[in-house]
Symmetry: D2
Subunit: 476 residues, 4 copies
Amino acid sequence: MNTNGPHQDLSTKPRHECGICGVFGHQDAAKLVYFGLYALQHRGQESAGIVAGDGKKVVLHKDMGLVADVFSERTLQRLSGHLATGHVRYSTTGESNIINTQPFMATHKGLALSVAHNGNLVNSIALRRHLEQQGSIFQTTMDSEIVIHLMARHIDRGLQEAIKTTFSCIQGAYSLLLMTPDTMIAVRDPNGFRPLCLGVLDNGAHVVASETCALDLIEAEYIRDVEPGEALIINDKGLTSLFPWAPAQKSYCIFEHVYFARPDSDVFGFNVYAARKRMGEILAREARIEADFVMPFPDSGNYAAIGYSNASGIPLEMGMIRNHYVGRTFIQPTQSMRDFSVRVKLNPVRSLLTGKRVIIVEDSIVRGTTGRSRVQSLRRAGAAEVHMVVSCPPTRHACYYGIDFPSSSQLVAAGNTVEGIRDYLGLDSLHYLSPEGLVEATGLSRDHFCLACFTGEYPIEPDKTFTKEAFSGCGC
Amino acid sequence: MNTNGPHQDLSTKPRHECGICGVFGHQDAAKLVYFGLYALQHRGQESAGIVAGDGKKVVLHKDMGLVADVFSERTLQRLSGHLATGHVRYSTTGESNIINTQPFMATHKGLALSVAHNGNLVNSIALRRHLEQQGSIFQTTMDSEIVIHLMARHIDRGLQEAIKTTFSCIQGAYSLLLMTPDTMIAVRDPNGFRPLCLGVLDNGAHVVASETCALDLIEAEYIRDVEPGEALIINDKGLTSLFPWAPAQKSYCIFEHVYFARPDSDVFGFNVYAARKRMGEILAREARIEADFVMPFPDSGNYAAIGYSNASGIPLEMGMIRNHYVGRTFIQPTQSMRDFSVRVKLNPVRSLLTGKRVIIVEDSIVRGTTGRSRVQSLRRAGAAEVHMVVSCPPTRHACYYGIDFPSSSQLVAAGNTVEGIRDYLGLDSLHYLSPEGLVEATGLSRDHFCLACFTGEYPIEPDKTFTKEAFSGCGC
Amino acid sequence: MNTNGPHQDLSTKPRHECGICGVFGHQDAAKLVYFGLYALQHRGQESAGIVAGDGKKVVLHKDMGLVADVFSERTLQRLSGHLATGHVRYSTTGESNIINTQPFMATHKGLALSVAHNGNLVNSIALRRHLEQQGSIFQTTMDSEIVIHLMARHIDRGLQEAIKTTFSCIQGAYSLLLMTPDTMIAVRDPNGFRPLCLGVLDNGAHVVASETCALDLIEAEYIRDVEPGEALIINDKGLTSLFPWAPAQKSYCIFEHVYFARPDSDVFGFNVYAARKRMGEILAREARIEADFVMPFPDSGNYAAIGYSNASGIPLEMGMIRNHYVGRTFIQPTQSMRDFSVRVKLNPVRSLLTGKRVIIVEDSIVRGTTGRSRVQSLRRAGAAEVHMVVSCPPTRHACYYGIDFPSSSQLVAAGNTVEGIRDYLGLDSLHYLSPEGLVEATGLSRDHFCLACFTGEYPIEPDKTFTKEAFSGCGC
Amino acid sequence: MNTNGPHQDLSTKPRHECGICGVFGHQDAAKLVYFGLYALQHRGQESAGIVAGDGKKVVLHKDMGLVADVFSERTLQRLSGHLATGHVRYSTTGESNIINTQPFMATHKGLALSVAHNGNLVNSIALRRHLEQQGSIFQTTMDSEIVIHLMARHIDRGLQEAIKTTFSCIQGAYSLLLMTPDTMIAVRDPNGFRPLCLGVLDNGAHVVASETCALDLIEAEYIRDVEPGEALIINDKGLTSLFPWAPAQKSYCIFEHVYFARPDSDVFGFNVYAARKRMGEILAREARIEADFVMPFPDSGNYAAIGYSNASGIPLEMGMIRNHYVGRTFIQPTQSMRDFSVRVKLNPVRSLLTGKRVIIVEDSIVRGTTGRSRVQSLRRAGAAEVHMVVSCPPTRHACYYGIDFPSSSQLVAAGNTVEGIRDYLGLDSLHYLSPEGLVEATGLSRDHFCLACFTGEYPIEPDKTFTKEAFSGCGC
């Protein structure tokens, strides 16, 4: 099993959510989806799966592990047909297992139905209860199983009617891909929490993916986003766009821009790299600091750091160097080694830091434990002052729409002042980007976004009796 | 098995050489060497080994693979004792195998002798011939086997005498660690081709390593470099420094600063990061270009790019984004995918590049094939002009001292003008740093360095009848 | 992973079916079930699973592979609780995958229900259709999923009522173990096709298993068989025995005695070893042959060969020697090697065979291809005459009750005379045990058995429109 | 890697030694050697290796593991050429590692020399000392390294002279295959301790192997044994047979017939199966016992049991049934399980044993621990009397010629009377075959054999200061 991984400490970051990708109309559909998932791997590293169809039958392959480990040339050959949808799932602690992998597939009266789902429902408990009352049994703890149960109960009335009825029952965040042996359906919830985009290949085949970086890799041209509240039915008859549900206030997840999405993706219609650089520029305006240089921690805040440096005129440096070969297993250090867990990944450049006033640009602070160690490591390497600017506001509230923040008790900002956090991290100063500044960086207006993790104002009332721990798996 | 790896295309870079690390005087000697090798992993990813001694007996463990894969807590526990030396070896194609791993160990009259070697001898064929004339047999193709044969033949006259005689016979580049059950000996050739530094731990234990980043990770304090022509004997009686051979002209490998060493290391007495940034600054002076931004390819030229940007005032951007999850095995792309091998690792940020004049800062160009593809990929993503500056002169000559450049026929600069290379790479302009500029960036004078790969002037005449292909393994 | 396994050519034998084992009332219930499955491994090598319960919650672990590979000390520790049921599944070609493993578990209104099933339903298609009409979806192709759907639909009326109703709908062969978090239920179909026995441990805990060899290994004392048509509810209140369904004609699978069950097991109340030896004795009476010695092929017909030798007075020899180290992967032999696939496993003892008249005692002939090669190999090794006696009648008809014979077109006896088979196998003579002789060997009367594979007389009319190929997995 | 292997408890048996095989004159030489080693796998399961040559160069591949795991189609393709020699090595505890695998290869003045060795030298310490005096270094603890050192020192005088001189220095047991790029040399020591046979393939290619079962598998015809004291040089000029050393008393290892060799092999000119059956027949004459049946423990004493049954008229039964799926890893049983380690592999057939008087036929008793447990298990299963007959005399003395018996302190027969052993094993009676009876069973006269392990009379005086523990690896 490969853990390869992004070279940052995921344990203190909000978890990536899931990623989905589907292709209709290409003889190598499954292989293209494979590459799409490959490009979306940052959205989920726990498991991967693809279901492929040729108009008559479907074949599913999924397993725990990275995309590159789950699929081989041989398995991809078995996934033959002109349509395919796939899923990558994030890594949760403990209960993750093969049962809770996606796409989720079941048959009903001979019809194979599958779903690949990104997001989180807020009324899943009620829906389960309702379905069980009617005799349903459940094998997984995934929302996608609920979706298939509902679809199966209404499919006799036709696909469009089944979609309409199914998603009328469902509340929450979902960007998903349904599939039958001959049709792919992309659905995005009316609030549009999670991204979903549509592209086209040279041969006219359609592609749907969580982010545009998946389109780039397979050389699909971006057409447009799947709209909030849209159901897009793609089959031999072409594209049919439906808006069967009442429209709702837009609630794009701004964390996609802060941290989740790949910087080379365009998400919600604008480029992530550009947004992050602008966050840095606005931070430079909001938080003026005298310092000798600006630095990111590697892979965390790189683009905001460029923006901050440009706008402030303070030079950019790379004050900590990553060990490229951090493997998965660790020998315990000897007792005397301080800062070991930091230095084994990132070594401070002593000659650069000695006597210098440093500004760290971070994309987010969740638990704060890693940041604290890194700041200490910089000080031991000789930094005279260590300041930090963060390219989003303090994260103080749980997310019910598909992001796996640690629980409040572990969020350093929950119930803590900025001064308290600064103190905990051992900084000379600490500045967070304002909500207004964050929204400004995106180029859209405030009413497009869900900022609930910063503000506690939830666009859809979650069932707060729900504790994620009650479920064994991924809520997305 | 994960190989994680540096996120650049090693196949078109000169190979990293080997790395060595030894500790004398600590009860966890092998564990400390393990971490030292961990920090030196960039110098060799093919195999790793450690030999440990407790004054009486020695235990060796080595295998193909990364440090993290070769050793476990259990194997480290078996490597008990207060002294230990270790080795990481680079990856060669084809003939690499378990026989050609280091440290190389043999016994002679009950005495276990081992060596961990970084460098390349130029008279190894003659030495083999000579030894075979006297009845020696060889099991490997490594220079280190020759060293042990010579040591064994002279050890009866005492360790110091054996060292003196052995290395009098040997010509070429070597920084190495010899070990007996109770003594560690660090030797650096009189030219000082390869780096080797000495440090001390809190408890007074001595550490020898290829680069200072290994000292940093295990919290050893840097004392000084092992000098060219020095043999440093470390045992219970303390340190004994010998200079038994005629002094020679210094010939430090300047490629350590250009590309090989980790930027957080100090090598040959100055910091690599600082040297690379200065290369960029001098490049900005030597090659003035009008452009919208400066960018490195990820992990290749980062620090020179910062220097170039600072000195030129042209903003720095990250125009290509790395996929963090590039695994080891690849599914073949479908036929229509152009630039695939580039984009699967690095995706151009289209919105950033469109219509822009871009300067790429590269640390070196060897084959040029990858660079060519990347330039095409940038153009397809919309770049209006693509210029490249390289932080060293054109690499036109083979190295006989331990660096594995491709053969001349594969070096794009061999027998080619800069204009020809520019043309091949598809650039609007191409500038190489001058030899003078490169030397200036290091802060030392010209007569400290071997620049043979740029100039063809070899400090020690190599046996040019020697073809590395005649041997199956590592020449270092 | 090596599966080494039984040293006979499974590809030409009827497939083993599944095996089940459950324990109620022991703190190490899962570990005991593990060992029970270990003893039952001959009944299925494709996958293994155990579900354990502690009265409140249940934990399931299952995977592809042998029992020893699927479970570790760590996974067994997670399977805590005083009751546990487990399953081993046979190996099918192609579509076998993780989804189709058992025990099958689902939740319904918070109640976890699982089932481990040995046998095959004959009305599963009708049942699926019926359940789908009511909104059910299916994720697997296993009969056990149907059982859980039915149980879930009736569980509100109480466990006993649910059992009664569920199995009233079901037709076919089933010996199975249902489990809730606090109760284990053993059910055997009214015909009693497949075996199921009850035992007790020292501490009073109850054990249910497919064969008594599982009881032996965990030192449980055999009490009695679970009766045809019995449902045995085991929980904190003790054992409750129900016979809720109309009684039926007994139809024990006689192939358990011929080939499936382990010779050290007692099945249907008598010892398998003894029955097989008696088959040989009766064969000696039915088929008198002049020969120099009697021999089995290793592990196939051993006990019948002993019986034949004893009864006939013709000495027993081991004319073919097994290579103990037949691994899983094979290098293709060079072209000239004849009989290679035989000899790589079994080498004829030339000096024993030369000029001798030999009687092979076989337990069954299915495809006949392996037998044919082995006979040729014996002749090449010098045997003067090769006769064969088979300890059951010709297998000419499909089984619908859980045995995976090859399809009729591949059964050498289907539509072929004994003379034709003898000719195909290249024998001097061939004799099959008569149905009467076979029944006589068991010690029970004819009306206890299903002999459908020999006679075509099916005790329950199967749905012959059903083709197993329509399903992707195990029918049992 | 699973080695599953022979279904008997190797830990209480003398270790198998090594096996060797070579082919000269076939384009698939390495593949044929692969199959030869496959057939010889019972002689060594720790590591395997093949060196192949095409007249000019040689390629070696060896690794820890079974033959089937060490080689793949790909590695065999790399082993191209018309001659090849291979080796399987037995499994020792602890120090076994990749360094100590065979064939051992080294180069000397450009000539690649390799050796695959079965046996054990008795003057290896003196030879090492002598060679080190002349400057040799050693990397392994194998006798084969000494052979190559000696060959290298004399090869300048021609191959024949080098062979003559080399083996004049060497004392002990050796059947070995030397190889240069164009010549294969088979050598057997003058005493002829270990077997070695010569065969020919259809195309005229020559094959040398430890046992004839290797010839059988690759369809080579047996010609004759390589004679004691013979060196057989095989190259393009054909076969040259030399007897360059003084002849010696024959000392065939009789344990090859008792236990080591495969029963389908002819060893020292007669069939192993026949010899073992005769041992049983003679035992029946020497040890008359009243009993209900005779039984072997599975795979241990099978053929002697047939002989005993035939000669005594007491029926043969299989009183213990092997679990075919004993995997490599074990879960610890619960505390209450008695005889577990026996029953997990072998289950007594209770209904067969109850009230019966049983004679076990064993091939050898070494430690006695397993036998003791098995006897207890038979008694618990109801056996009224348990007698044992053993098809060789008590094993009381160490072997210095290549067999790895446990040290004397662990040999149950060392310093113990037969009555004492009977008592320890818990038997009603115990009889060992007499040395005379054992020799009689082979058909040769007493003066052909080494019986040192039974009698303590050593044909070549071993250096008893030598302790095998002083060396880390295989002595063979």
